[in-house]
């Protein structure tokens, strides 16, 4: 029992879900009064606040009339969310159905082909071919009709084969569901985040170890950091469009330009934090490296990077948050299929139903952003060697 308790507490600590700690402790009867107080503070109070927020929303929304009808109230949004979910399920079922039917069709065609390609048929085909060659060699007038017979026999086979090929490669062409759009948005943000990290980490480390490089980079960083995604996007769109054609690329240009926009906006926190982490490395640790006469690379990988990892991850965490925020705006403008485009389409549609869908999107973006942040917190905790540091951030 004790082991389970410590395991749970450790798990809560690692995942940074500290509000659950008093619940676990209460279950084990540890100082019930203190735990109840904590539960009240960390669970009850936030819940009350949330309910109050819902009430306020309800009250205000009911009194605002727009062209798209009333501002959706919480139950309307909830209803819309559940209907979007059932639409997603229905679409998934349809897709599964499509592929199931496809399988059946392929099986049927293959069976037909097998029936056709009996040894007798092959023999007849061979014989017809031989006859045809003979007649043609003799220049006989019957050659023409024989050729027609042969070709119709051969085309029976090739027709069937083509049909099978067609049936196999056919793709389900239904519109992407809301969940598909979320997944696409996540792909875009991670692609952009990966680009940002690949650029920001090396430059940040260089800034941290070389004062000259830092001096060279400072004006560039200060200049480009405040630029809004709305500016980057059209520029990226044009440049990406010059190199990547929408028809013959595995990645659509809208996807790439949104990802690059995300990267351009989200690389700064990582860059600045990495530079800070590397520059503020403990002098004692550098002395250890000097006494040991560590070479450049071992100094880099054994001293500098590990010691700045907590700050690097702080930067990455902020970057991912910024990236996710920027992405929605980028997708909205680039009409890259994703949450941003979903909101844009809903806006264009302008019905009271799509108005509610926009509210669902707000909560989706919020919840996913929260989850991404939690994931980064876990990473951040895993690499921080100093508890105090992890708590402060």
């Amino acid at each position: 029992m004790k082991e389970i308790k410590y395991f749970l507490l450790k798990l809560i600590d690692v995942t940074a879900l500290n509000f659950l700690e008093p619940v676990v402790r209460l279950c084990y009867g540890e100082e019930p009064k203190v735990q109840l107080e904590k539960i009240g503070l960390y669970i009850l109070v936030p819940m009350v606040a949330f309910v109050a927020f819902l009430g306020l929303w309800w009250g205000v929304a009911d009194n605002i009339m727009t062209k798209s009808g009333k501002v959706p109230t919480p139950p309307v949004v909830w209803h819309e969310a559940s209907s979007m979910w059932s639409q997603h399920l229905a679409a998934r079922e349809q897709r599964a159905d499509f592929y199931k039917k496809q399988e059946v069709r392929v099986a049927e065609l293959e069976q037909k082909l097998a029936q056709l390609e009996t040894p007798q048929f092959e023999q007849r085909l061979e014989k017809t071919k031989a006859d045809l060659e003979k007649l043609e060699a003799e220049n006989s007038p019957r050659a023409k009709s024989k050729r027609a017979v042969y070709e119709s026999m051969a085309s029976q086979v090739s027709n069937l084969e083509a049909q099978i090929e067609n049936a196999k490669t056919a793709q389900y062409a239904g519109a992407p569901t809301y969940i598909d759009q979320i997944i696409l948005s996540l792909k875009t943000v991670f692609f952009g985040f990966a680009i940002a990290t690949a650029i920001a980490l090396p430059i940040g480390i260089l800034c941290g170890i070389s004062r000259v490089f830092m001096a060279a980079m400072t004006p560039l960083i200060s200049l480009f950091k405040p630029v809004s995604p709305i500016v980057w996007l059209p520029i990226c769109g044009i440049i990406v469009g010059a190199y990547i054609n929408a028809d013959n690329s595995s990645l659509p240009p809208a996807f790439i330009s949104s990802a690059i926009t995300v990267a351009l906006c989200s690389l700064w926190p990582t860059l600045v934090n990495t530079a800070l982490g590397v520059a503020s490395i403990d002098k004692d640790h550098i002395n250890v490296a000097r006494v040991l006469r560590l070479g450049f690379w071992s100094r880099m990988f054994k001293i500098i990077i590990p010691s700045s990892l907590p700050l690097i991850f702080t930067g990455l965490r902020i970057s991912l948050g910024v990236g996710w925020m920027v992405l929605i705006a980028a997708e909205l403008l680039a009409t890259n299929p994703g949450l941003g485009k979903f909101v844009w389409d809903a806006f264009q549609n302008g019905s009271s139903q799509t108005f509610a869908q926009m509210f669902v999107a707000v909560f989706t973006v919020g919840i996913i952003g929260l989850l991404l942040d939690r994931i980064m917190v876990i990473f951040q905790r895993a690499v921080s060697f100093d508890n105090a540091q992890a708590m402060a951030i």
Binding site: N287, R290, V291, R293, K302, I303, D386
Partner: protein, 282 residues
Amino acid sequence: MSFFELRHVDKSYGNGKDKTQVLDDVNLKIEENEFVAIVGFSGSGKTTLLSLMAGLIEPTNGAVTMQGKPLKGPGPDRGVIFQSYSLLPWLSVFGNIELAVKQVFPQFSRAERRAHIEKYIDMVHLTDASWKRPRELSGGMRQRVAIARALAMQPEMLLMDEPFGALDALTRGTLQEEVIKIWEEQRRTVLMITNDVDEAVLMADRIIALTPGPEATLGKSFDVHLERPRDPATLNFSDEYKHIRNEISHYLMDLNTESKKLKIPTHDLPLPDIRPKVFATA
């Protein structure tokens, strides 16, 4: 020619009006396998002196030589035990020592390296904690790791900067004894910087006073002829111990201009014969 020498070493920071002369004309000779302690008041430039000897900083004037050759920066031939332990917090006890051993003995096979590291972890009694991170260790344990790391490099010379300064009295006593024991087993040239005269007399062959800074320089040198192994429990009753201890203390008091101003004639007062008992016997 001595094993390690400082000749007319000056160290100053800054220029012109802002110039602070920390060390002024320091001359020091250390023989091989000698245990030298430098005692001085805080702020007298002890850490600067040690950093010079470690090669972490360069003298403004003068020369620092080891075996006749001038120092070229820091190196693993001089193991340094820093006052602040300087352990890498993201590595375990084993990892911290391994980093040093890997660098100093690249020719070791994996098994040899492991055995080597474990030997030194054992020597400082940390076998059970070898997979712990520094933050899970007490101050005394951290200092033990720092000692093990310095020793595992098998340096020709060991430089210790107030190694026991941040420890409580009991831990300090235990660690002092451990270090002496290890030193007696594997003789090595040691330079220790301390502000504790008792510690210096207990451990060193020779004690040199550092005059208060700025412009600190080395003062009188005292040879300690106490027989080894020295037992702190019985040492308290040794006349020679008391004598040398008093002599150094008086000398240091005289050096301190502030205490001179106060004019308390400490030399005339006989020191009491009672000394606190050292409980650390482990």
